[in-house]
């Protein structure tokens, strides 16, 4: 392994002409797209029909959990693409198309979220208690939530939902992906450079807006599951997880594409090394902000804030809290700190799988304990009893939809920005060698 790694590091990369011959297309793989979308709908129908006993209440918690999980990865892709344009980064050009596909298909997650929107608007299933303050919230808490009603009401929720995905369509699809696709076969010259310049300029406001929209999206989808609780750190918490999910996905995606013979020469150990660095940075960032959120609430010790953690670190949920501390932070921190691991393709992929699983459990940890709080059901049988088969069905259903949306967006397009003005520089990219 080391021998091939160093041999690659010594080469000075391939030329843009060679890249065009390096199989930069999905080809046959693109057929997965429509199939995955159909499978997603079928799985959703099965899961929904299977879960009738409690009026689909538990099912919707699984659905929200998996929905925010997959959406976070695509939001991470959008933010990554934006920040690379803002920084005028050249190293990332050759790997930028895959995040562009995710960012360009992010608006389709607006379709995947429609069951949640419909559930909120019809107000029949008790998931978000603020939907029906009168009968789902009792006692003194009722007044507290009523004070938030100007924000937490179904109409405004629907309007915000529309704004999120309209903006994600605008930035992810219309500006970034279409702008980049346009350059693929464009001759070099002023017009092409103007296209790049336009993406650089629009990415700065795009970054600000996308960050805000992501924050409100996290507040609406996850934080408002407990309408009493609040944390100013929550948007950043969602962001940190999103970036971990995104970089893990990128590592696995390129490993998979290269195993099918695509971009074998173009994407080198240098790019994996940088994904590893980002992953390491965001693992620490996640630990830093997750602990900051915890400590501030722990120290202030105000009941309406501590209740969120109180559920999660007691009874059945205790092991999950410990798993977050050690499995999501301490262990990966020690693992990814090593330069050897970041440059070792196989070990890096193992770490990426681990982080994806833990990122999924992180959202499980955020969403599902609220089901217990609302229903008052004490599972009592450990973490296993808190788990539900609908988790798996929703994971597969939304996962298929998310991946199908990505593949449909990729379609017949090149999977590397072949015509980007900085592509030649990107192909020569090399971290400081040792």
């Amino acid at each position: 392994m080391e021998a091939t790694v160093s041999a690659m590091a010594h080469s000075h990369g391939i030329t843009p002409e060679q890249l065009r011959k390096d199989n930069p297309f999905m080809g046959e793989l693109a057929k997965i797209g429509p199939i995955a979308l159909v499978v997603a709908v079928v799985l959703f129908a099965i899961g929904y029909l299977m879960s009738g006993a409690d009026e689909h209440q538990r099912f919707f918690f699984s659905y929200i959990h998996n929905y925010v999980f997959f959406t976070s990865i695509s939001i991470g892709a959008l933010l990554f693409t934006l920040v690379n344009h803002v920084a005028r980064a050249s190293w990332s050009v050759v790997i930028r198309r895959i995040p562009e596909f995710f960012a360009g298909s992010l608006w389709m997650m607006g379709i995947a979220g429609l069951p949640i929107l419909i559930m909120v608007l019809t107000g029949k299933v008790e998931v978000y208690e603020w939907v029906n303050i009168g009968s789902w919230i009792h006692g003194a808490e009722q007044q507290i939530v009523q004070n938030k009603e100007a924000y937490l009401n179904t109409t405004f929720f629907a309007i915000r939902y529309f704004i999120y995905f309209a903006a994600f369509f605008l930035f992810g699809r219309a500006i970034l992906l279409n702008g980049s696709l346009k350059q693929d076969n464009q001759p070099d010259g002023d017009e092409k450079d103007r296209g790049t310049m336009r993406m650089w300029q629009l990415s700065a406001p795009g970054l600000v807006f996308s960050f805000l929209l992501m924050t409100f999206f996290a507040i609406d989808m996850i934080m408002s599951l407990d309408p009493i609780w609040f944390s100013t750190m929550f948007g950043v918490y969602y962001f940190a997880g999103a970036m971990i999910g995104f970089f893990s996905t990128m590592i696995l995606m390129f490993k998979w594409l290269q195993s099918t013979g695509r971009l074998k020469e173009a994407v080198t150990v240098e790019h994996y090394h940088d994904f590893g660095k980002f992953l390491f940075a965001f693992v620490f960032f996640w630990g830093y902000i997750a602990f900051s959120q915890y400590m501030l609430i722990w120290y202030a010790s105000i009941p309406e804030e501590t209740r969120w953690f109180h559920i999660r670190q007691n009874a059945d949920w205790t092991p999950l809290s410990w798993l977050m501390l050690f499995g999501h932070f301490a262990l990966p921190f020690a693992f990814f700190i090593s330069r050897y691991i970041k440059r070792h393709n196989g070990l890096l992929a193992v770490g990426a799988v681990w982080m994806l699983v833990l990122h999924w459990l992180d959202h499980f940890y955020q969403v599902v304990p609220e089901y217990q709080r609302i229903t008052g059901v004490q599972p009592g049988g450990g973490l296993g009893a808190a788990f539900d088969i609908s988790e798996i069905i929703c994971l597969l259903a939304i996962g298929c939809f998310w991946f199908g949306a990505f593949m449909v967006t990729a379609g017949k397009n090149p999977i590397a920005p072949l015509g980007d003005p900085q592509i030649a520089k990107s192909l020569k990219f090399d971290n400081v060698k040792v």
Partner: protein, 200 residues
């Protein structure tokens, strides 16, 4: 940078009876310096160095520099900082007087327990950073054997331009492979512009 134009190198001659300290080869661009460094590396020299006005990407590879050991110093000091942070808080806040032993003082703050790890983590974190930063700064100086008050390149008049627009390779006469004739022949084969002989 064009490498097509032929370079003419001025080569100084050693003086009889003076102690030779080393050779200093001047380059006028990064590419020539990097290729020159590769040649010197491949020739097996160990007591030599490159001097540039700014950091040059990939030069440590061209020089065959081995990975630094500073990281292990930083790791050890980081852990020391972590445990120091934990210890001083335990000592100062969580321990009561026991007989003749002088111990800490328990603060009772807003109903918090005297000893609880979440409250200690910020201090542990800060001391980890502080100790690591000291370790990387002083460790870097130590591993580089800095500060050095004298170096044979200081005997050169031309060497001042290293802070401006020139690049240099210096080879010390203390290098085991150093040979007055052979080393000069090797250096004169590189794309430098001026080979200086440094003498005491």
């Amino acid at each position: 940078m064009s490498q097509t134009e032929a370079k003419t190198m001025t080569i100084e001659e050693p003086t009889e009876g003076r102690k030779l300290l080393g050779y200093l080869l001047e380059f006028d661009n990064v590419d020539d310096l990097t290729h020159g460094a590769e040649k010197v590396r491949d020739a097996g020299y160990s007591n030599w160095d490159c001097h540039t006005p700014f950091p040059v990407h990939g030069l440590d590879h061209a020089m065959g520099a081995k990975p630094s050991h500073v990281q292990w110093i930083v790791l050890a000091c980081g852990f020391t900082g972590l445990l120091t942070g934990l210890f001083i808080q335990w000592w100062m806040n969580a321990v009561v007087h026991q007989g003749n032993v002088v111990t800490g003082y328990q603060y009772f703050i807003s109903g918090k327990p005297f000893w609880s790890v979440p409250a200690n983590i910020p201090v542990m974190f800060e001391l980890t950073i502080l100790f690591s930063a000291f370790a990387s700064f002083f460790g870097m100086l130590g591993v580089n054997r800095l500060p050095q008050y004298n170096h044979f390149t200081m005997y050169s008049e031309r060497f001042g331009q290293v802070t401006d627009d020139k690049f240099f390779i210096s080879i010390s006469s203390e290098d085991p492979k150093f040979d007055v004739g052979k080393t000069r022949d090797m250096l004169s084969g590189l794309k430098g512009t001026y080979l200086e002989v440094l003498e005491d």
